[in-house]
């Protein structure tokens, strides 16, 4: 079974995010980058499928030079090949542009039975790339998968929907986006880490895919990030002393909840 995992390198979820000087990008200085956590579920599922049924796992990422470290981290857990499409500064945050580049990279790299993507990239949280790639490749897709069974020529996927679960079957080739709960991602082993540096990573430019990044980010842009701002700082909160007069304190709390917080 030939499996392809699309993965993004994102700021560590524990990072303190600052807005950069331009006002529409985050300030990347001093940030630590990690594999987007949902991509880890996609990767783990691909590795488990390979272990169970044989085949290959190929990782593809689209991002700046530093994203190569993310691919190495994927390879450290297992997998056979990796493709790095360099770029992504200009198209940052534009899910359609990213999907166009990734779909073209998938086509150029090989034919796959299953493409696995994280349900969303942590940080921009759009949840669009996987579905768009499937559409561009003209294959079915199942989003937010929490359980997957792959049969001969088709798969059965479970996904959580509002108030219940949905079970979907789809023919292969197919694309799924991985949701938390799909599996428990493994840790890379030291041997995997040491072996990963020996696997060559194929570097491609956007132009190698027959696309023009300038046009993708310009005339054909699906969306542009105009401005970023941080949420307002949390205030210190209000403490109602309750020891002397608990009943009065409770009344005061109820009033504040109704009139100030409008919570009740």
């Amino acid at each position: 079974m030939n499996l392809c995992v699309l993965t993004a390198h994102v700021p560590d979820t524990a990072s303190v995010i600052k807005v950069g000087a331009a006002g529409n990008r985050i300030d990347e200085t001093g940030l630590k980058w990690i594999i987007s956590p949902y991509d880890e579920y996609a990767m783990e599922e691909a590795l488990k499928l390979k272990e169970a049924r044989g085949g290959t796992v190929t990782y593809i990422t689209y991002g700046p030079a530093r994203a190569e470290a993310g691919l190495r981290e994927c390879l450290a857990r297992g997998g056979d090949a990796a493709v790095h499409v360099k770029g992504g500064e200009a198209t940052f945050g534009d899910a359609l542009a990213v999907a166009r580049v990734l779909a073209a990279a998938v086509r150029k790299t090989g034919t796959f039975d299953l493409i696995l993507v994280g349900v969303k990239g942590v940080g921009s949280d759009n949840g669009l790339v996987g579905a768009m790639v499937a559409e561009l490749l003209d294959i079915p897709h199942v989003a937010g998968v929490t359980k997957l069974e792959v049969g001969e020529g088709s798969l059965t996927a479970h996904r959580e929907i509002e108030g219940g679960a949905e079970v979907v079957t789809a023919p292969l080739p197919c694309c799924i986006t991985a949701q938390k709960g799909l599996n428990e991602p493994r840790y890379p082993s030291l041997k995997g880490i040491m072996a990963a540096k020996k696997i060559p990573i194929q570097a491609l430019s956007v132009a190698d895919l027959g696309l023009d990044e300038g046009t993708l980010a310009g005339a054909e842009a699906g969306c542009r990030w105009r401005a970023l701002s941080l949420p307002p700082a949390k205030s210190g909160g209000t403490i109602i002393p309750g020891e002397e007069d608990p009943a009065g304190a409770a009344r005061q709390l109820a009033t504040l909840l109704r009139e100030q917080a409008k919570a009740i």
Binding site: D12, T13, A14, K32, I34, P37, A69, R72, E73, A76, Y187, P188, S189, L190, K191, I193, M194, A196, K197
Partner: protein, 396 residues
């Protein structure tokens, strides 16, 4: 999700990608698998044996070798792994140090092919646990005066003596035991669990390294086959060179404990409010303590990094290893004390990691050569004069 870790001098830039990834992997694993339970384990005095298989799956056992398909991690990478383990708890780092430096290292270095084939794969997979018996009740800093004897008999060796303070002793499948042979020369033996005449009992009442197993081994007319001897190990220099390996790892590990204490103290000082609504971190006296810790940790990080690179080039000396072990343990011990002061009363309860590290580091400061012993090793190196024996006494 890796937590921030002090790095004032961008030591990060001196590491390879593999070293960073190895470190972050272990950091994440410790955060997920150790931190939620470690206070309970230490309180109960229980070694989390169930984690051995997980550490083996991460390939922390035998990490630096390439024989038997082992990963061949760099020395700096290995140091970082131990740093992260000891950031969690010294007991875990102690387990890995013993298994690697004190059990796998002597078997790989002086063992027969048969001994290596028998033990290295299973030690690496965590299916077998090892221990190292050098110290005796009456001989700690001066192991050369050991009393344990191995008498050659027709079909093997007969071992008699006592070993004390042996990490992993009670749970070990194989003990690397050092004893004097008939000629008075120190020899190494692999003693398997269950060998008649070999018994292990726990040291009771430990306040330190409570999540580690520490035992006493006794050998009374313990008959070993000829093949139990490490054929290439000859003389006291062999166990001492095991110690050099282990001390290298401790030099990194102890800084992990220091980092844990620094970050605990920093977090606490920023959030604890006293006098006028300001956090205690706003007081110069608290800042001075945080600065002391950060400053010493930074120096320590550069020292162990350099030592690691020298070791990779085969140029590290036992004197340098002593200096680094001595420095890191001292820094960690001071950091634990300062962190405890900053935590006030909260510094004595197990809601915070401070008292556990403070108690652990006392063992680490003492084992693998006490601070004093390393002072004497450095002193001898500098002056050319060994000062181990009191001046009034001649040879022992």
């Amino acid at each position: 999700m890796a937590r921030a870790s002090l790095d004032l001098y961008r030591v990060e830039d001196l590491l390879t990608d593999e070293e960073r990834l190895a470190r972050d992997t272990v950091r994440d694993w410790v955060e997920a698998r150790v931190m939620p339970h470690i206070e309970a384990w230490a309180w109960e005095g229980r070694f989390p044996r169930e984690l051995v298989a997980e550490m083996a799956a991460l390939q922390l056992l035998g990490a630096t070798w390439t024989e038997y398909g082992l990963p061949g991690l760099s020395q700096v990478g290995y140091g970082l792994v131990l740093q992260e383990l000891e950031r969690g708890d010294s007991a875990l780092r102690s387990f890995v140090s013993v298994q690697n430096s004190l059990v796998m290292y002597p078997i790989l270095t002086w063992g027969s092919q048969e001994q290596r084939d028998r033990w290295i794969p299973s030690l690496a997979r965590g299916e077998a646990i090892g221990c190292f018996g050098l110290t005796e009740p009456d001989f700690g800093s001066n192991p050369g005066a050991m009393r344990t004897r191995a008498r050659r008999v027709a079909d093997g060796w007969v071992l008699n003596g006592e070993k004390a303070w042996i990490t992993n002793g009670l749970i070990a499948d194989v003990a690397v035991v050092w004893a004097k042979d008939d000629s008075g020369s120190v020899a190494g033996f692999l003693v398997e669990r269950g060998t008649p005449g070999f018994a292990a009992i726990d040291h009771k009442g430990k306040y330190s390294l409570r999540a580690s197993v520490t035992s006493q081994l006794s050998f009374s007319d313990c008959l070993l086959p000829l093949s139990a001897r490490l054929p290439l190990a000859n003389g006291l220099k062999c166990p001492l060179s095991c110690l050099t390996q282990a001390r290298y790892g401790i030099a990194w590990g102890a800084l992990g404990s220091a980092l844990a204490m620094y970050h605990a103290a920093l977090d606490y000082a920023r959030t604890r409010i006293q006098f006028g609504g300001a956090p205690i971190a706003a007081h110069q006296i608290i800042q001075e303590r945080l600065v002391w810790m950060a400053n010493e940790i930074t120096k320590g990080q550069l020292l162990v990094w350099r030592l690691g690179r020298l070791k990779e080039e085969g140029r590290a000396t036992y004197v340098q290893v002593s200096q680094a072990k001595r420095n890191s343990c001292w820094v960690a011990r001071e950091c634990a004390r300062l962190a405890r002061e900053i935590h006030g009363a909260n510094g004595i309860v197990n809601e915070y990691p401070v008292m556990r590290h403070l108690m652990n580091i006392e063992s680490v400061y003492t084992y693998e050569g006490t601070h004093d012993m390393h002072t004497l090793i450095l002193g001898e190196h500098l002056t050319g004069i060994p000062a181990f024996l009191p001046p009034c006494q001649g040879e022992p």
